[in-house]
Amino acid sequence: MANKDVMIEKLRSMLGDDAVCVDDKYGAGVVSAATAPAAKLVEALGVFKDTGFYLETMTALDFQDTQEIVYHLNCFEPMSRMSLRVLVGHGVSVPTASGVFTAADWLEREVREFYGIQFEGHPDPRNLLLPEDADYHPLKKDFGKVHAYRTRDEIYG
Amino acid sequence: MGNTDGSDWVRLIVGLVIVLAFSQLNALFLVWLERKVAGHIQLRPGPKEVGPFGILQTIADGIKLVGKELISPAAADRKLFPIAPILVFMPVLVGFLVLPFSPDLIIRDMNVGVLLIFAFSTFSVLAILAGGWASNNKYALLGAVRSVAQNVAYEIPLLLAVLSVVLMVNSLQFSHIVEAQNRFWFIFLQPVAGIIYLICATAETNRAPFDIPEAESELVAGFHTEYSGMRFGLFFLAEYTNMFIVCAVATSLFFGGWNGPFGFDLNIPGVVWFLVKTYILIFIIMWVRWTFPRLRFDQLMNFSWKVMIPLSLANLMLTALVVKFV
């Protein structure tokens, strides 16, 4: 069984069937997208790591009603990208994943400085790309020139 | 102490003036030569704007350097910082006193000529350390410390190689050594010593692949990071003049000095032979610089202590045995 199928099984058992949607045609570039509550985030990432995945990238999305963190993970086999999404409200903090994947160290620093999402337990919460004394969060939709500010349902509904 | 009458003094003073003039001209020429050689090896022409074939380029650079502001870092050592470049340059000039350009063109044919040159070349190491330390800059200090370690390590096989030649001739006087080569140059009789000498000479003058002390891509500019204007120029003058001296010594010790090959003079004056051979050796050193990457510092030290010194020691012992029993 390929890594990705093993992973989908494990995710389904951990998060429930309707939190995981699978798309074998790779339409959106991922073979499956799973939504996890913040409490189970580190556990889910640990399962990914044990199955041989690596953290490709991590980013956040800012909506009017909520913020969402998207993790993209991949392994060294063909067509195996999976995404893991966590919904956090504005001002809610999320446990850090840098204990599981060291790559998350820098990725979380970047998400924190651009979106203001705090990561509990992060060993080194400095700014990565912005100057050290920057106290603004540029990629939030209430900063600077913004073209559109929508709610999550408008895009993913 | 010989007789010092009037003609000796005149000879000394004239010699000094000629030495100073020659070393400046030589440095001028060598800077131009280096840039041309570098250019052509790198598929480009090198300087060609200023003067025919860019010959006057060095003069233009010299004028530029003289006109620059001499910047001293605020926390640099007030006394040592300006003195260090002068200290680097002066010992090198002493070497010209004993070089055998031709049978009657030696300024002072001392009977410890070889010893004099190597004794004074060690001074420049001290001056480099002084310059690096006085700059109050971590990069400069790192460069200076590395330079000292490298120089000390490569002095030893250098001197051992030279000793092999001295053992064969039984004299430290340059004219004797050159006269002993009027049939066969010592490079044929002592090839190992010759090659060891050339490698160590490259290391002594801080040239690539041994140019860690001034490694541009690692330490910005090594021990002369903080120097600007003519002080920087002096470091470079010292390096090129030093290069000339070590190649001239190599010519005298291994390549026959003022003699032609196998004793055939072809009616060319000795001084021309000497200069041609020296400049060919300088060209080879430049060629090596633009071909090879740099050794890492510990590999450099390993190479000296574990390869060069045992080889040169073995060579010396073999020479001693041969000289004694043959």
Binding site: G29, L128, L129 | L295, R296
Partner: protein
């Protein structure tokens, strides 16, 4: 002035000192600052500080239409500008369902592979120059000039391209393009032997790179290292074979891999990749069909449906990804770019520990980071 004895009486408290491999340094590629804690010659801790080149591309991505973002794409990693441009165009085409004619696909592949070769050539020149060998730099740049001339003639730019457009390319290529590319390939292949002889077999070079900066597979997985650095560890992971996009599945080429993951392996992998790119270009030139070079029916304002897409492709440095979220308008809602140099630089915090200062330069060079793409 204090006496000399006074100066020596101060106790020496720490052996570890901090050296700043500063933003202005001949060997850091782009504006990178590495804070090194050194114990003599050995590095105890390495902390890269980046962000000097942050230009806000992702914020710009939300305020520009997809078409207006095209120039931004190649300016992130300007050394493989055409590859980024190509990748962005592919991502949007997949997202919005735009058809591309066959001829355009072949042209884009040829240009992308040429760009890959030019990026690797620049890396090769600067890497050997960092190690002290000044000459291969100029030879590599000479070859690179030929590539830049070819691409300049066909696209109008030398470094940052907007040649690939949604639905094809903006200008057709003619017979001179094909001829010049073929003659370049022939010349490059003979130069390739020169590089091998001058550098790869050079004893000093091998001493500087063998066993230096070993990245284990585990470290690669922890930090997200991709590209030639990962392939040097022995894993044949190349997006052109793993998730074939465009027409890469029609060509016959290999993925060079190394065994030990040290700097020498990384060097060899990249050198062989250049050769494999030559193979792809040859096959593409042989099989290029005629026909239109641009899909004229493509809409003027690209309007992808609501949703998101993540498109991963292989740039010169590793796996790059465009993550686009669309709300149905011509402006993206979120445009995130996953850059390979991120993980490649991050892994240095672990790899540099315990190495010597001169090795740090060698490792930095062999990783092939371009800082502006991290900074975006």
């Amino acid at each position: 002035m204090r006496s000399m004895a006074d100066q020596f009486r101060e106790p020496i408290v720490e052996r570890v000192y901090t050296l700043n491999l500063g933003p202005q340094h001949p060997s850091t590629h782009g504006v990178l600052r590495v804070l090194l804690d050194l114990d003599g010659e050995f590095i105890v801790k390495a902390d890269p500080v980046i962000g000097y080149g942050h230009r806000g591309h992702e914020k710009m991505g939300e305020n520009r239409t997809y078409k207006q973002f095209l120039p931004n794409a190649s300016r992130m990693d300007y050394l493989s500008g055409l590859l980024y441009n190509h990748g962005f165009v592919l991502a949007v085409e997949k997202f919005a369902g735009i058809e591309v004619p066959e001829r355009a696909k072949y042209i884009r592949t040829v240009c992308a592979e040429l760009n890959r070769i030019s990026s690797h050539l620049l890396w090769f020149g600067t890497y050997v120059m960092d190690l002290g060998g000044f000459t291969p730099f100029l030879y590599a740049f000479d070859d690179r000039e030929h590539i830049l001339d070819i691409l300049d003639r066909v696209s109008g730019s030398r470094l940052t391209y907007s040649y690939c457009r949604f639905g094809g390319v903006c200008q057709d290529v003619d017979a001179q393009f094909v001829d010049t590319t073929r003659s370049f390939l022939k010349r490059f292949r003979s130069r390739y032997h020169d590089y091998d002889n001058l550098v790869t077999k050079n004893v000093i070079f091998i001493h500087r790179t063998r066993g230096v900066g070993v990245i284990t597979v585990d470290q690669a997985r922890q930090f997200g290292v991709t590209g030639p650095n990962l392939r040097a560890c022995g894993i044949p992971y190349d997006m052109r074979k793993i998730e074939p996009y465009e027409i890469y599945d029609r060509f016959d080429f290999e993925i060079p891999i190394g065994t030990k993951g040290d700097a020498l392996d990384r060097y060899r992998v990249r050198l062989e990749e250049m050769e494999q790119s030559c193979r792809i270009i040859e096959q593409a030139l042989d099989r290029m069909p005629g026909g239109p070079f641009w899909n004229e029916a493509a809409t003027f304002k690209v309007r992808p449906p609501k949703g998101e897409i993540y498109f991963g492709f292989e740039s010169a440095r590793g796996q790059t990804g465009y993550y686009l979220v669309s709300d149905g308008t011509p402006y993206p809602y979120r445009c995130h770019i996953r850059v390979p140099s991120y993980g490649n630089l991050h892994v240095l915090t672990e790899v540099l520990r315990g190495t010597m200062m001169a090795d740090a330069i060698s490792i930095l060079g062999s990783i092939d980071v371009v800082i502006p793409e991290i900074d975006r």
